[in-house]
């Protein structure tokens, strides 16, 4: 494994993201800037990425290839990406794609793959600081994760990570970027004006909300994992999952499980899921699919966490 040679890459600014010192020639959010010229953990740079990706092992999806240590991602009409050895992300833009689109996939899928390559268990959810621990809220697209995080933030909680939640071996969550992504309608529901916010991509009505003081930049232990979903009942429900159900829930809400498998990390990953499930409660939360009573959801999670602590 080679450290990237900084001499071929002298001008690019430094950033601190997910506990890593990164050098990137794509502008990342300014709040993550780091004044340094020392050693880097990983680099993000423009370069050639082969069109078919055949040197990157087997196809694990229509647009993804992977083998141990290497992942290739092809986002049609946006860019091709190569993520190697937990050290390097190379991108090749297609056409005149803007930097927002590049950044979106670099900070999501690519950095997620890089953290998996570095041996982290990465969950797909939002990490919310509650007291001296963190609740990780997972759920499928549209279950209300970001709305929940933003509303928790309004209620005075800090956010540790949005979307990509990497954990240390000790079960601590590693802080991400001081921003969360929010759709127009979620912002409206929470009374957040979007006219001054930057869009994640010019074409999408999805915005980046800077967290400021509401960002927690310290690793903190995970207190519980919540899995959000909706159901037809008009009542909220919370059920602690045990045994295989808790394990399955963590597997299902792994960040890009497909990558984990393709990168040859499946067994280590299952062990890490098992360890986490034995250490913290995994709770299935269901909310009525009609209407979205965000305050009730917040109260339910805060109340449940309190109860888990008392019984722990």
């Amino acid at each position: 494994m080679n450290f990237p040679d900084r001499r071929v890459f002298p001008e690019a600014p430094y950033y601190r993201v997910y506990g890593l010192t990164l050098q990137s020639d794509v502008a990342l959010p300014g709040e993550a800037r780091l004044e340094s010229d020392g050693a880097v953990d990983a680099t993000i740079r423009r370069g050639r990425v082969c069109e078919q990706g055949t040197e990157f092992g087997r196809q694990i999806g229509p647009y993804v290839r992977a083998k141990p240590g290497a992942l290739w991602l092809d986002i049609p009409d946006v860019a091709r990406f190569a993520v190697r050895d937990g050290r390097e992300i190379v991108y090749e833009p297609i056409g005149d794609v803007g930097h927002q689109a590049l950044r979106l996939f670099l900070l999501g899928s690519c950095l997620g793959a890089l953290m998996i390559q570095r041996g982290h268990l990465v969950l797909h959810g939002n990490a919310i600081r509650i007291g001296d621990g963190v609740a990780i809220c997972c759920g499928v697209s549209g279950a209300g994760k970001s709305t929940l995080a933003a509303s928790m933030m309004q209620a005075g909680q800090q956010i540790v990570a949005d979307d990509v939640c990497p954990l240390t071996e000790q079960g601590e969550i590693i802080p991400g970027l001081p921003r969360i992504k929010l759709w127009q309608d979620s912002a409206e529901r929470l009374g957040i004006a979007t006219d001054t916010l930057e869009r994640v991509r010019p074409e999408l009505k999805k915005f980046e909300l800077p967290l400021g003081e509401a960002f927690c930049n310290q690793p903190l232990p995970v207190s519980a994992v919540y899995v959000l979903n909706t159901h037809v009942s008009s009542e909220f429900s919370a059920e602690v999952l045990t045994g295989i159900a808790a394990f399955e829930a963590l597997k299902a809400h792994t960040y890009r499980f497909r990558y984990v498998d393709g990168l040859g990390k499946k067994i280590a990953h299952f062990k890490a899921c098992g360890r986490l499930a034995s250490r913290v409660p995994v709770v299935s939360i269901k909310r009525p699919r009609a209407g979205f009573e965000i305050d009730k959801l917040n109260a339910l999670i805060l109340g449940d966490l309190k109860q888990q602590r008392l019984s722990a």
Partner: protein
């Protein structure tokens, strides 16, 4: 390799869910009717979670045209990986997506079952489904730009955007193409000629089509059964606002519930397709079925 994907295609409110309940019951070996909240067909073609799971990145980060472009590739990949046939509901009109491919991958498609229903009745049912007026439903059915789960609103829908075209264009898009093996069935025949219609469907889909199996599956997916379950447990696919997804399950409601002006408007908009599928008499008046 034999193609593994079957498509259950229709405009909304044209018997698709009923068909899925029938297929699930036909494939199940249990004595009890299948739950409407666990229909064993394999997810709607516009399901965001399904697309994301195969993609390895998120449709939420893509533009509408990028999503349209990747949809056939996802299903081509999925179809090539699976050992058993799957049955996917789809409400989109059949169009070529950016990049030039058909929305459904031809090489992995085993067949298309296209269901259609008298648009006079669709209008009534669609209005109820959308919790809007009948006139609004008629307008949507005549709007070439009508889309479901529109992405322009800045909402994270559970489904990706679906282009519907007009009702007539929808019918035309699925029934005029000749490259893909297609069985066309009318909702009215599902109702009035149940046995033979469902038998031909089962044979087309490569499922058991003996009389006994068909009759048993039909019993377990009867309108009364579906409605009973919806009343007791709710239906998670139903629209959040309207009272019942399974409304009447009948044909001909238009005779009492549509005004003459509404009937005339629908015939003006969709007369050609209506005539082609037997919904109009020789004199152009709507046929009572």
């Amino acid at each position: 390799m034999t193609p593994k994907l079957y498509w259950l295609a229709s405009y909304p409110k044209s018997g698709n869910t009923w068909m899925r309940a029938f297929i699930t019951n036909l494939r199940n070996e249990t004595d009890d009717p299948a739950s409407i909240n666990a229909l064993g067909t394999s997810g709607i073609a516009s399901d965001r979670a399904l697309l994301d799971a195969f993609l390895g990145f998120e449709t939420a980060d893509l533009t509408t045209s990028e999503i349209a472009r990747i949809r056939p590739e996802v299903f081509a990949w999925k179809g090539a990986q699976q050992a058993q046939p799957t049955y996917h509901k789809i409400h989109d009109a059949l169009e070529r997506v950016p990049g030039g491919r058909w929305l459904i991958p031809e090489e992995q498609t085993a067949g298309v079952l296209y269901m259609l229903r008298n648009p006079l009745d669709v209008a009534l049912s669609y209005a109820n489904h959308r919790s809007r007026t009948v006139d609004d439903a008629i307008l949507k059915m005549g709007d070439p730009n009508h889309r479901l789960s529109k992405q322009t609103k800045g909402t994270q829908h559970r489904q990706v955007e679906q282009r519907m075209l007009t009702w007539s264009q929808h019918v035309e898009s699925w029934t005029a193409q000749t490259g893909i093996s297609t069985l066309i069935v009318r909702y009215e025949d599902m109702l009035h000629l149940s046995e033979e219609t469902f038998q031909s469907v089962a044979a087309f889909l490569g499922l058991p089509s003996d009389r006994e199996s068909i009759a048993d599956a039909l019993r377990k997916s009867s309108f009364n059964e579906l409605r009973r379950q919806e009343d007791e447990e709710g239906f998670h696919e139903g629209p959040r606002k309207c009272a019942n997804f399974f409304r009447q399950g009948q044909a001909g409601g238009w005779q009492t519930d549509l005004s003459d002006a509404q009937i005339n408007q629908i015939i003006a908009d969709h007369g050609l397709a209506m005539r082609r599928f037997g919904y109009l008499n020789a004199d152009g008046s709507p046929r009572v079925m």
